[in-house]
Amino acid sequence: MQNYDVLVIGGGPAGLAAAIAAHKNGAKTLLVEREARLGGILKQCIHDGFGLVRFQEKLSGPEYAERFIEEFRKQKIEAKTLTFVTRLEKTENGFSAVLVNRSGVETVTAAALILATGCRERTAKQVNIHGTRPAGVFTAGTAQHFTNLLGELPTKKCVILGSGDIGLIMARRLTLEGAQVLGVYEAKSTPSGLTRNIHQCLHDYDIPLYLSHTVTRVFGADRLTAVEITKVDEKMQPIAGTEQILECDALILSVGLIPENELAETLGVQLDPRTKGPVCNAQLMTSSDGVFSCGNALHVNDLVDYVSESGEIAGENAAKYVKTIRKEIPIKAGERLLYAVPQKLNLNSNNQQTILYFRSRDILDGCVFKIIIDGQEVFSKKYPFLRPPEMEKLTVDFSKYQLSENSEIQLDIEVKSHA
């Protein structure tokens, strides 16, 4: 049985960064990836815009991944690809993982685990689409897989539901491939994707965006033949009588991502209902000692640069991990925040460089982000605007503040003027 200091599960951008960081911090590291190649979902993201924050360059997904894969190889970190983790168990000294691949079944042990398992897409049935079950209903990621990895056109004329980033990217991609995108329909009254993608993927290609509209039904016994579009009210409920039928051959869904934490759950890791990822402290350690989380498994990111960053935090801390007693206090995200990560601060750790990620719940103009400790405002930062699709990041030195086990850290957004 092979023993490691750190076992990284997932070879996408988060896992690669985590493995490199763990290795650089002296840990004997193994990375396990279920697909044949490293890079995760970036492999199929052939559009550019990756790495602006990190490298001040516009890279394509595969190029961005390649930078980390090169580094990973240069450091001679061990990786097992086409390998699937079927089981994780706690042991006396850490964890054991059962791995399945073409060579058989093997068990490895590690002192610390990094879960970089990414996320999955919400499906048609999870957004209440009814009607028949024809071919031609794809999630945007699946359509992207067919188009970019397999070189196959999944549609000639489609409707895209949801204005999430992958949906916007696919609207452009399919247009470039000669498919007709009838429109992007969004149930919310504001777009879900990044503003830059609305411009670069829709406006530049004259693809209409319809807000407060959703798809309620699909038609077609074999291949999809049409969809029913319905207007929705403020509560996103369909308004009867506003239905219209659009003929098309595919419905492409970009209706949200769900962090994949099924493995984490088998270890009893506590999840945050807001992020759907594990509750973590500033070291990105979950509620289970020695289990770290990063990337889109932790919370859904909009920029890969932050995914890599969280991987590095998890990697470094996993490498340095020694079991100690934790003294954790909650970091509470106020009403105006959609969520904040980390959710906890371990007073027994070094929190000088705590990175906070947060999103606002609504579109807010002219606002101030505040950190309040025990009723005292200790930090504030002005933002001209905050938008839920755009995650914000802050580095805070929590060691400056007088914190005790009974302290309360509260994050809030004060609004000077509403949007």
Binding site: F84, G131, A135, F146, L150, E152, L153, D222, E265
Partner: protein
């Protein structure tokens, strides 16, 4: 009820718009009505539950649109001139189980199914409960077959390598005062109807067995013999065993016409040629009446009734481990059971189905209202249920007669015909027992014209595709050593390997479509619903067939997944 009474009732309700007439031992209804609901109501008024004097519906219903049967695209002469001893029409659980039992005999058996796979209609669109028969009373065919069928499941599932679990069923009551009455009901069912596993359990016991059930339950009827099985899995397994024993199954083959002479079917026209069978078994589900009509032996009517089930994430599967429903203390006039919660053999939860009358035999669209109705009812059994755990939903169409009983009998006018019709819930449970009887009926019928001998090579044993995720590590490693493809996981949610997919493609009835593979070994059945694995499965199928990706279908001939190469 005599005819005068029937007509009196019809007159008072429909004011002369509908008349009943006795004709060849059937109650034939004619007239004109505006809606399908009224048409069904009229027929139900005229029908006597479990009677063998059937209502035949000749009412002209204005609402009903003439919807042609979904037809396979293929047109060839592959079956032209075939002269099977037995032609079975319908590849649902009834047809395939009959084919399997008949394959014990040295016979030329041909089963035709119009869809691209088996179990694509009701047999693949139900909840998979193996019923105890607690709601059935003596005198019906349903009752006659239920205990026999239920008792056969352990053996049949072992022989056919199909997972089956007796998880037990609980009908829960929230009114203590009803207990004496229900006790008497159970006693009657037990003593009079032979539903021997029936017992009453207290609310406290129920709480211990299923802690997540509603607090308000005071007691429950328990039937430990109830179980769950994968309904399409069992159908495919039966069919594969039949094929292994020499039966032929022709998919994409629809019956279009029949030539009947002197009360005998001479030939059967299909889209793949004219077949001249010695005898015909009508196991055509919602189309059983249409087949009976073609065979000039229409003495019953089918009124399709659709129902929608939801499947919940395996995480919700941990909420309960049995089958349950809540019982209202009102006399319900619904026929099939009003739905429940079932822990499936694959450890999901299945919620439903509802029951809605429809004239559309093949419309399996889902509707928001069905989900809402079912959830609001089932949350009373288990308040923890949440629509948020839904991973998918589907609709099936039941095929009841107005007498709400099975028709298992020889043709009344046509001599070389056996009907296995009106099969609805609990048709999956009864199928193994019904198949044995139809086997006898068919052999007897054939013996009038030929010698029928045992098939000396018959083997009741079928091996399914191995399920690696259920194996222990050692066994799994051994399998991977033999075939490394078993170590390549393609479907992450259900943990299905490439090796298993290739096995399914090489199985006795190869259906090389994404849905065909999904039904056999479950890639795409998990929480991501094929988001990750469908491109991979498509690719494996294309490689296996040696065709471009755009040739791989989801299910039917017209269900292409992609449209060819990108620029």
């Amino acid at each position: 009820m005599n005819l005068n009474q029937v007509n009196k009732k019809l007159d008072s309700r429909f004011h002369g718009a509908v008349r009943a007439k006795l004709s060849s031992g059937c109650i034939v209804l004619s007239g004109e009505l505006p809606t399908w609901q009224e048409t069904v109501e009229a027929c139900q008024l005229a029908a006597t539950k479990y009677s063998t004097t059937h209502v035949v519906n000749n009412i002209l219903c204005k609402e009903v649109k003439d919807i042609p049967m979904r037809m396979p695209k293929i047109q060839d002469s592959a079956l032209d001139g075939r002269t099977p001893d037995v032609l079975i029409i319908g590849g649902g659980i009834s047809g395939v189980s009959i084919a399997r039992e008949l394959s014990k005999w040295k016979l030329d058996i041909l089963l035709v199914e119009k869809e691209a796979d088996l179990a694509l209609q009701a047999s693949g669109r139900n909840d998979g409960e193996v019923h105890p028969g607690i709601d059935l009373s003596k005198g019906s065919k349903k009752h006659y077959y239920i205990r026999k069928g239920n008792a056969m499941f352990d053996d049949i599932c072992r022989e056919l390598d199909v997972p089956f679990r007796r998880v037990g069923q609980y009908v829960c009551f929230n009114k203590e005062f009803a207990k004496p009455l229900v006790y008497l009901y159970c006693l009657y069912r037990k003593k009079h109807d032979g539903i021997s596993d029936t017992k009453l359990i207290s609310g406290t016991d129920l709480k211990q067995i299923e802690p997540n059930f509603a607090e308000e339950f005071k007691f429950a009827i328990s039937n430990p013999s109830s179980g769950c099985v994968c309904p399409y899995g069992l159908t495919i397994a039966y069919a594969e065993n039949a094929v292994q024993n020499g039966a032929e199954i022709a998919l994409n083959t629809a019956v279009l016409d029949m030539e009947v002479e002197n009360g005998e079917i001479k030939s059967v026209t299909t889209n793949r040629g004219i077949i001249r069978p010695k005898i015909v078994v009508n196991a055509a589900g919602v189309f059983a009446e249409d087949i009976a009509k073609l065979a000039k032996d229409r003495f019953f009517s089918i009124h399709p009734r659709r129902g929608t089930n939801s499947i919940l994430d395996k995480k919700a599967g941990a909420y309960m481990h049995s089958i349950a429903s809540v019982k209202d203390l009102t006399i319900s006039k619904t026929h099939s059971k009003g739905g429940g919660i079932l822990h499936t053999v694959h450890n999901n939860l299945l919620i439903g189905p509802d029951a809605v009358e429809t004239y559309e035999k093949e419309n399996t669209e889902t509707h928001k209202e069905s989900i809402e109705t079912v959830f609001s009812k089932q949350k009373r059994t288990m308040p923890k249920l949440s629509e948020r755990d839904i991973i998918t939903y589907f609709t099936g169409v039941r095929a009841p007669t107005f007498e709400e009983d099975f028709i298992i009998e020889n043709g009344r006018k046509t001599k070389n015909l056996i009907h296995c019709a009106g099969i609805q819930s609990p048709g999956l449970t009864t199928a193994p027992a019904v198949a044995l009887d139809i086997e006898k009926m068919a052999v007897q019928m054939l013996r009038r014209i030929q010698i029928v001998e045992k098939n000396p090579d018959f083997s009741p044993i079928r091996h399914g595709v191995p399920v690696l995720k259920d194996m222990d590590d050692k066994q799994r490693a051994k399998m991977i050593q033999k075939n490394p493809d078993y170590g390549v996981i393609v479907c992450r949610c259900e943990e299905i390997s490439k090796g298993e997919i290739l096995d399914a493609l090489r199985s006795p009835i190869c259906v090389p479509t994404v849905d065909g593979i999904k039904k056999r070994i479950r890639p795409g059945m998990g929480r991501c619903q094929g988001g990750f694995c469908s491109p991979l499965v498509t690719q494996i199928i294309a490689e296996f067939l040696g065709v471009p990706l755009s040739e791989v279908k989801k299910s039917s001939e017209d269900s292409a997944i992609t449209f060819g190469r990108t620029k």
